[in-house]
Symmetry: none
């Protein structure tokens, strides 16, 4: 089954609004074994809408999902543009219109002049209910193609998909055709070199994709045959090669996995951040349940706070500076002692764009990690933008903790 997704809106093409609808619909369809073969983003114009429809109807897509342009204002033209394209009439769904009037009256608001548009659908379509917004959706057929038309407001679109379109038209979700192996701490080409012989040997009828980011590389397997066991076998063989580089095979983040490892072991963490400025703490506390292991920490952006709150000595700061192995060491040791946590992470570095010197260039960073056995500090040079420098520092620090937990703190 092949599908196409069309998102309509000038604000998308101008880059003012990030299109998250396409991604969300893609994900749901993947789970329902529907391949998305094409996504289009087009302007609020008859020419754009008609040209896109001609394109997708020519290409024999079984399903087309359209979002956007059903609202009550003058720039919402999707409904009328489709009417012209299909050369049909418009019908008003009276029940829906009356319930909108009732809802608005109850709140003492004025009835907008263009309210009826929200209950108007193509005569060749059936209505799809909108339980949290005003505009009805539509389902229609053209040749072999089934077309769903939905509002662009993400919450309304998602509710229509989840409550009506998916359950009424598609089989229930099944993720078994995909496996995602998530790794941290090794580059894409090295991983590829390490496992390419395994893919050659066991990868027949399995599509293998490498998805790199500055946080790590995801290896995504897609089964193309009816034999799921072969994909599991390939996954097992890849695991044998990559071992602890892999942090999970489900859809959790590195910080989620590491946080869960701490929770499972009933161990606690504190964090002393300089250059990452709260990012590591933010990543851990994004997760529900992080209070089970994260005690908290200190953001010591200014040197005074490194001295006053983290007890880094004035001599250290004067002699070797804030961005140094010694400072990272003191920060990790002292925050652990101050908070009584089992582990502590520290970061100190120069994320840029300013602040670099010849000796200590932008990109330099020290990451400290302490536990009951002492402290280790690693030095890195991430030559990236400020944002990436901070994110790579955070991911590297969290991965160091994960590897330490794996090596020295088994659950059994």
């Amino acid at each position: 089954m092949k599908a196409c997704i069309i998102t309509i809106g000038d604000e998308l093409l101008q880059g003012f609004t990030l299109d998250t609808n396409s991604n969300w619909i893609s994900k749901q369809l993947s789970k329902h074994h529907v391949d998305v073969g094409l996504r289009l983003t087009i302007p609020d114009s008859d020419a754009g809408i008609h040209s896109a429809l001609n394109n997708v109807l020519d290409n024999d897509f079984e399903y087309v999902f359209i979002t956007g342009g059903l609202g009550p204002t003058h720039d919402d033209i999707t409904r009328n543009s489709l009417k012209e394209f299909f050369n049909c009439d418009l019908n008003v769904i009276d029940d829906h219109h009356e319930s909108l009037i009732k809802w608005i009256s109850q709140r003492g608001r004025k009835i907008p002049s263009n309210l009826k548009s929200q209950s108007t659908i193509l005569s060749i379509s059936t209505a799809i209910a909108n339980s949290i917004g005003s505009a009805l959706g539509m389902k229609l057929r053209s040749g072999k193609t089934t077309i769903f038309v939905m509002p662009g407001v993400p919450a309304e679109m998602k509710k229509m998909m989840t409550d009506y379109i998916l359950p009424e038209n598609f089989t229930r979700p099944d993720d078994s055709q995909f496996i995602t192996i998530r790794t941290s701490g090794m580059g894409e080409s090295i991983i590829f070199d390490k496992i390419s012989h395994v893919i050659d040997k066991f990868g027949n009828n399995i599509k293998v994709a490498f998805l790199p980011s500055h946080r790590g590389v995801n290896i995504r397997l897609k089964n193309l045959s009816s034999d799921l066991q072969k994909m599991v076998k390939l996954k097992d063989e890849i695991s044998k090669v990559l071992q602890s580089i892999i942090f999970t095979e489900d859809d959790r983040d590195l910080q989620e996995v590491t946080g869960q490892m701490l929770s499972d072991r009933r161990l606690t963490l504190s964090i002393a951040e300089s250059c990452t400025g709260g990012l590591i703490s933010k990543l851990f506390t994004d997760q529900p349940g992080s209070s089970a292991f994260l005690l908290g920490g200190v953001i010591a952006y200014h040197n005074d706070l490194k001295m006053d709150l983290l007890k880094v000595s004035a001599e250290t700061l004067e002699n070797v500076g804030a961005v140094s192995e010694e400072t990272a060491k003191a920060m990790a040791l002292n925050i652990r002692e101050i908070t009584g946590s089992d582990f502590a992470i520290s970061t100190t570095g120069i994320s840029g764009p300013g602040g670099g010197t010849e000796d200590k260039p932008v990109g330099l960073v020290y990451i400290g990690m302490s536990d009951a056995n002492g402290v280790i500090v690693k030095k890195f040079n991430f030559l990236k933008t400020r944002k990436l420098h901070r994110e790579m520092t955070a991911a590297t620090a969290i991965n160091m903790l994960r590897l330490l937990l794996l090596e020295k703190y088994s659950t059994t």
Copy 2:
């Protein structure tokens, strides 16, 4: 000038990866007066790539921007697929290849077998340097269309666009056709009610869009006539009504504006975060130059840290609890005193999904703000997901600081 953006990747169509490249490129092109008429997302397949190219070349786009599929692994097929489509040869750029080898050798790593692909370009193209990754970009012409091919890794694509493609091919940015009024602290429908009479009176030939998010509402004006003064007049009239609700008319974030206000006034800030867990500090330190005003702070997730590092009394925590006006007050007062900052922000609340009680439900949050004159605490109930609760708390806290600075700390 009309452009088309093509993003290539199965991971995009499967919803595994959110396509942010299209949005970013759209935004840059808008600023350069290039209209994006179409965006396509297509699979890693020759059929998909060739069909998309036929489509865009038939439609007379002046510029086509392609991202994705230039990496070193077997699923990166863009380069070869374009070679077949244009029926040309491939060239290796030796200088780039040697510099990659040198870079890898210096780090004591093994040279990957497929490294040469990263320096390989179409014979009909010129290379675009990649200063932070391995794969070269390409620029080529086909008929009247200029095509740019870039890696899918966002940071690499952005650097290529910013350093080479935009300055060398397009006139410099001019935003005069657009004005964006950014607000914080008031809902969309209230803002609309307040300014709709102004829009009716002064908004002829100006498109006004309301773009709400949980961080605030942006009001976007687009000039449709040759008379820019009319749009400036409308903007001024809206400003008169909304006043301090507006935090900027450029493209800065709330935290950027607030940080700049602190820097301009040579005032400093410290932060004591509980439920936001580092998010506020992270938002401020995302900005270069934040060390000019942010001293740092304490993340007191566990009550022990509220007592030990923030000197919140055991009585307060026992009698009224961590999520209370008194605790927020003590946190804001004490972190300011400990760090010697001019201002301090504190947050304590229940972001959920767990941790709520009948008295203190999920969503409850107290935000404290202290300066030399004392401390104020405000209570909110943001009934949202954990993520939105944290983001709304952070935005509300930063906006409180901005309003305090506006009211009581003028620059003159």
